[in-house]
């Protein structure tokens, strides 16, 4: 039992480390600011939660776990908020996002989707390869 829990927590720690490095590589590799936000999101959610979960298992039922839960709680609320304010500040400063697969900057690729009211439920047909849900 002890061993099984240890193995589980090691696996969680390793997965967390993997996500952290993946996010770090993404932040260096992705082409523009907005796409880098997503890579940073990977380290903020995947890496953080997995590592915290791994530590919680090591902590057992104690004050340690409570503190880890609190850290996770604060991260859960503060990270998306700071990411949002970062994105909003960049957007307000007039930074244009890349369009398509790393194509050139277009001034405002959003406007046309503004004109048509967004249909909330209609499942948008995608290209054959990309069935929207359940792609690992």
């Amino acid at each position: 039992m002890e061993i099984a829990l240890d193995l589980l927590s090691w696996a969680l720690l390793l997965v967390g480390g993997f996500f952290a490095i993946a996010g770090g590589i993404g932040v260096v590799r992705l082409p523009d600011f907005y796409t880098r936000l997503h890579a940073s999101g990977v380290t903020d959610t995947g890496a953080a939660y997995f590592i915290l979960a791994g530590l919680m298992i090591q902590g057992g039922l104690s004050i340690i776990t409570v503190k880890l839960v609190l850290i996770g709680f604060f991260m859960f609320f503060s990270n998306p908020t700071s990411t949002y304010s970062l994105a909003a500040a960049a957007h307000r400063s007039g930074m244009a996002p890349l369009d398509g697969a790393g194509g050139p900057n277009k001034p405002e690729p959003v406007e046309k989707s503004l004109a048509e009211p967004i249909e909330p439920i209609e499942p948008t047909p995608t290209k054959p390869g990309g069935a929207p849900p359940s792609q690992p």
């Binding site: 990411t83 994105a87 690992p136």
Partner: protein, 154 residues
């Protein structure tokens, strides 16, 4: 007031000391913090949304699963030999009635890697998505509906 109770609970958990003098100090510091919050006029119904209660607990596992799925997807694309991304910006409708609901929705969007909410404009959210799949997932509106469910009827 529930804010005081929550703060004192947190204080108790973190200190781990239960002698009278330290408990007294805890009560004092809790009241001090609440007094400052009242003076700054930041205490309101939204600040500590206890009224959402258990409904949010039903939403969190789903959100966590989505976060995991999106994490794997983004990690795979980032590490792949060619960056298989097609970034785009679009708007989604947020049909929540309250500001708190919209905030939960926008934060959920940001928490899911692959989509980041960039701007809240009334009942629409400007979203930046890393891939077409992530964008379409969000456009389907499942997350929006679930957050409306969390909001409940008041």
């Amino acid at each position: 007031m529930s804010l005081s109770a929550v703060l004192f609970g947190v204080w108790l958990l973190l200190s781990g000391h239960y002698t009278p003098i330290l408990l007294g100090l805890g009560v004092i510091s809790t009241l001090f913090a609440v007094a400052i919050a009242l003076r700054m006029d930041v205490v309101d119904h939204e600040g500590h949304p206890l009224h959402l209660g258990l409904r949010i607990l039903g939403y969190l596992p789903w959100l966590m699963f989505q976060i995991l799925r999106a994490n794997l997807d983004v990690a795979r694309r980032v590490l792949g030999p060619t960056l298989a991304i097609s970034p785009r910006m679009f708007r989604v409708r947020a049909t929540q009635r309250t500001d708190l609901g919209r905030v939960i929705f926008a934060n959920s969007i940001t928490l899911t890697p692959g989509t980041v909410s960039v701007e809240l404009e009334g009942s629409e959210i400007l979203v930046h998505a890393l891939t077409a799949d992530a964008a379409n997932d969000l456009r389907e509106g499942t997350m929006n509906r679930l957050v409306v469910g969390v909001e409940g009827h008041e």
